[in-house]
């Protein structure tokens, strides 16, 4: 049977989701997929659009790429709008005249921004807020504007207002209705939201009906309102609602709603059984669903129905919950179910704290037993519990007011135990993850939020379900008998974080002291290096002091990275990746003299391999004398700060990335941490230093530095998150000082910054609160701790070679000068490497490392195939 042709019109978030779901379906090979988009790019995250103004690029927002589609055989055509549907012969025609046959057609055309028919609306600098092209136009207009007005005070309008504010404009919001977010919030909530927004410097004008847009006196435009008032502005951004893009349906006689929208049934089919409609363009039960989650559900349903080939048993769309929780202009708002109490007989409980700026209202059924809806502004912590209650039709507790009243006398609020939730309860609506699925994930080995996120994707979308998901996780862990213990090992009943606190607060200076006061037994290879690291992070002692010696791990103990044969590698520091010719020559000469293998590292420095214990002090003396320092390649510590060429030489560089990289590396070198730390500084947005996969990444823009955190390469690569923008050198350093010491204090053993952030309750927002807003009041302490570290810095190798006692240890035997007779090298590509087992057995010519390099004639070369 030949493949069925599925043509998808529109490649927005929902259109792409349809394709992605179809590709995951077991019947995917029965289908051939073609998709058209009127936009010049593939699907991107329209929900996160505002991130564009805080440094994200179109590429960051992209939800897929050409590679993915090509690999999976999806044919895609961009910048070509479908303009005709022939239902009888089953084909579509595009603007450019391309004709494409279909077996099934899926319309995912989304919506377009509605611009009210106001005279003057079509002038330059009158814009809308939907596509990336729109954002580019807004950015361009903002450069020539001082004042901006957003017409429309709904969800999208307030997001747009935030964007204008971030672009530096004096921002106004003009709303036709008596209050902001009239759909989601009631009067009390809307009032509080307005107050909080006005505090941020955004002016709000409600009950304003714009009649015309004419030339202004002080600004480009003047908006005249029906009540006789006016407002002057340089830019107008219309965000007054969206309308479904249903022209194809109208023109080609598919059923549409009176006020727009393509009518669909529970299978997401239109009035033509071979044509489906999903997302914002679809009308179900007389309703359009303007959130992405219902659109995703429709995509799932459509895939299910198409894949079932009419044999029944497929999923159905039966409406969707439009509850939402978000942060607008920094204000937390949430709306659940029947927020306006429109259900007949509905009653409400209201808590309105004008001083603390918190508003919460519950809408309950006539008999007081069920929760119908809620509005939360300023404090949305109860959202997760309330949503579950409503969705699962659970009975309210005895005193429902306890759900929204602040707890008094430390009494626990009348909350909802997650244990009361049924397995079918959907915890994460972005990815459709039920409580049952979370429980399964735990049974399969997920033991923390990072594990849950990795295996189920829960909490990786909007993050709104994080608190609830964690409650399910913890409840499940304890019911499985898993003691949610974070003891570091059998010798200490504390987590690494707790030990760090104990050591720091009680000023404990040695492992023995800590073991005596808080531990038992003799310690081990888990707790000794962990404690050694904490001691180093806070007191920065020379790590080979006698009392610290027994704590040092494989690489730290001889200040070199042990290789597979027991020899070591030598890595001097090359800050910022910059090195003089003279120093390069020194490295080459040292390598030759000692017969070492040389290689350039990913961290932009040079690694010398094959050094035996007794050679290390000699090698390092030469390096230190030539002005080198230890590179700490052997430690769980700050490693390198990569750099790109930057403004000194590069045509495109906007700032001196090399200079700043060197400053940063020199500042933090020597810091020991829960895991290694890698940095990079890029001199422009081309990002040649790859800062976005580093624990600390810095990228130059015309306005200063953008700071990224918590990225890494390695086994689980993760992109860093944008933390703060437009920073000057000083502020950036301040934030990094605090960030690093906060990580040192609170991370788990061997936890990279990425995993640490994933497990941090409150995530990036919380991190910003701690580091930038000093929510915990510890920033001064953090900076002082960092300053102490910097003040105590010493090059460990320099200290070691100046100490004959320590140097004595650098010998294979304590009672002989002989070398380890088990070492064997062969030659490959002109350098040495350890012989393999097979090579030893075959008695392949073993090479004396130094002679191999120094003596041309007497070498018996072992050619390795």
């Amino acid at each position: 049977m030949s493949k069925q042709r599925i043509v998808v019109v529109g490649n927005g978030m929902v259109g792409h989701k349809f394709i992605d779901n179809l590709l995951q379906d077991e019947k995917r090979d029965d289908f051939e997929i073609v998709t058209f988009s009127e936009e010049p790019r593939l699907a991107y995250d329209r929900v996160q659009l505002s991130a564009y103004f805080s440094g994200s690029t179109a590429a960051d927002l992209a939800m897929t790429d050409e590679g993915y589609y090509n690999q999976n055989g999806v044919n895609f055509v961009l910048s070509d709008k479908v303009v005709e549907i022939n239902k009888a012969d089953k084909y579509v025609v595009t603007e450019n005249g391309r004709k494409e046959a279909y077996d099934k057609l899926v319309l995912a055309t989304g919506s377009f921004p509605f611009v009210p028919p106001i005279p003057g609306k079509d002038q330059e600098h009158c814009l809308v807020y939907r596509t990336i092209e729109d954002l580019e136009a807004i950015t361009a207009s903002a450069k020539e504007s001082k004042v901006g007005v957003v017409v429309g005070g709904g969800l999208l309008g307030l997001e747009a207002a935030n964007a204008l504010k971030n672009l530096g404009l004096k921002t106004h919001v003009v709303e036709f209705a008596p209050r902001l977010m009239a759909v989601q919030l009631d009067e009390g909530g809307g009032k509080l939201l307005r107050g909080k927004i006005e505090e941020l410097g955004v002016e709000v004008h409600t009950e304003k009906n714009t009649q015309e847009i004419v030339a202004g006196e002080e600004c480009r435009f003047r908006m005249n309102f029906a009540d006789g008032s006016f407002l002057e502005t340089d830019m107008i951004l219309f965000s007054a609602g969206i309308r479904p893009q249903d022209e194809l349906a109208r023109q080609f006689e598919l059923e549409t709603g009176e006020r727009g929208g393509i009518v669909i049934n529970n299978n997401c089919q239109t009035s033509d059984e071979n044509i489906y409609a999903i997302g914002e363009c679809a009308l179900w039960g007389g309703r359009i669903f303007g959130l992405v989650a219902p659109g995703y559900t429709m995509a799932k349903v459509a895939v299910s129905h198409i894949a079932s080939q009419g044999q029944g048993g497929s999923e159905e769309f039966t409406g969707a919950d439009m509850s939402t929780k978000l942060k607008l202009l920094g204000v937390d708002v949430a709306s659940i179910g029947d927020a306006h109490g429109n259900t007949p007989g509905a009653q409400s409980y209201t808590y309105n704290d004008e001083v603390g700026q918190v508003y919460k209202r519950l809408i309950v059924s006539e008999d007081g037993k069920k929760l119908l809806g809620a509005v939360l502004v300023g404090d949305v912590e109860a959202y997760g519990n309330l949503l579950q209650m409503m969705l699962n039709d659970m009975d309210l507790p005895e005193s429902p007011e306890g759900l929204i009243l602040p707890s008094v006398d430390g009494a626990a609020s009348a909350g909802l135990g997650v244990d009361a939730l049924p397995e079918t309860a959907i915890i994460c609506s972005c990815y459709d993850v039920t409580k049952g699925q979370l429980q399964e994930a735990v049974a399969n080995g997920a033991v923390d939020m990072a594990g849950i996120k990795a295996t189920t994707n829960a909490s990786t979308g909007c993050g709104g379900c994080a608190a609830l998901a964690k409650q399910v996780l913890d409840s499940e862990l304890s019911s499985l008998g898993y003691e949610v213990k974070n003891d570091i090992c059998e010798h200490f009943e504390y987590s690494r974080k707790e030990l760090a606190d104990i050591i720091r607060v009680k000023k404990i200076k040695t492992f023995d002291e800590l073991l005596e006061s808080h531990g038992k037994g003799h310690g081990c290879d888990i707790c000794k290096p962990a404690v050694g690291s904490i001691l180093a992070s806070f007191w920065n002692d020379y790590i080979l002091k006698e009392e610290h010696m027994s704590l040092q791990d494989t690489n730290d103990i001889y200040l070199g990275n042990m290789q597979k044969d027991g020899t070591y590698s030598v890595v001097p520091r090359v800050a910022g990746g910059e090195i003089t010719p003279e120093k390069l020559i020194v490295l080459g000469e040292v390598a030759k003299e000692f017969g070492l293998y040389t290689k350039v590292t990913g961290g932009q420095r040079i690694d010398l391999f094959g050094a035996q214990l007794q050679d290390l002090p000699l090698i390092w003396k030469k390096l230190v004398d030539a002005g080198f320092e230890t590179g700490h390649a052997y430690g769980k510590s700050v490693r390198t700060v990569k750099s790109c060429v930057g403004s000194t030489w590069c045509r495109y560089g906007v700032k001196d990335s090399v200079g700043f990289a060197i400053d940063i590396e020199d500042r933090y070198k020597g810091l020991r941490s829960p895991h290694k730390l890698k940095f990079a500084v890029s001199g422009c947005t081309r990002e040649c230093a790859e800062a976005q996969c580093k624990d600390v990444g810095v990228i130059a823009t015309e306005n200063g530095w953008n700071l990224y955190v918590c990225g890494n390469g390695g086994m689980r690569p993760r992109h860093a998150d944008l933390f703060a923008t437009d920073l000057d050198d000083e502020t950036l350093i301040k934030y990094v000082d605090r960030f690093l010491m906060f990580y040192v204090r609170t991370a788990d053993r061997l936890q990279r910054t990425s995993v640490w952030l994933e497990n941090l309750e409150g995530g990036l927002d919380y991190l910003r609160e701690v580091i930038i807003e000093d929510k915990l009041g510890i920033c001064e302490e953090l900076e002082t701790e960092m300053a102490a570290n910097i003040g105590n810095y010493q090059c460990e190798w320099k200290t070691t070679i100046e100490n004959p006692e320590k140097l004595k240890r650098f010998s294979h035997f304590i009672n002989s000068d002989e070398r380890d007779s088990n070492l064997a090298f062969v030659k490959e590509r002109g350098q040495i490497r350890p012989a393999t087992k097979e090579e030893r057995i075959a008695a392949v010519e073993i090479v004396d490392a130094v002679e191999a390099l120094n003596s041309a004639e007497s070498i018996a070369e072992a050619e390795v195939a």
Binding site: G523, C524, D525, T554, K808, I814
Partner: protein, 110 residues
């Protein structure tokens, strides 16, 4: 010395809770000093799993009642009393007799 003890080094040369490697009649022997109970241990220096002469450089500790060293290469644990490898039975170490006499660390020659 009728019972064949060979002096390796001074006790004062050892750092508490670390190991050193001795050359004994052509064999490499790792000597460890457990300082809490002031006890010496000696096992083969060759790590049979990692196949390199590195055990003397490992971290000492206890697992339950056993005093162990963790190989610096792949962290298998070896009981210092018996030489047994806790993770892989077949890779146990040869043990040696070691003692402190008049401030000197001595190994018994076979």
């Amino acid at each position: 010395m009728s019972d064949n003890w060979k002096t390796i080094c001074a006790k004062a040369d050892l750092t508490p809770n670390t190991g050193v490697c001795a050359l004994l009649e052509g064999e490499q022997v790792a000597i460890f000093w457990e300082s809490k109970n002031d006890k010496l241990y000696a096992v083969s220096n060759y790590d049979p799993v990692g196949e390199a002469n590195v055990l003397s450089r490992g971290i000492m500790g206890s697992i339950g009642e056993k005093i162990v060293v963790a190989s610096p290469l792949y962290k298998q644990h070896f009981c210092l009393e018996t030489g047994a490898c806790l993770e892989e039975e077949e890779h146990s170490l040869k043990t040696y007799s070691v003692r402190e006499l008049d401030g000197e660390v001595q190994l018994q020659v076979a």
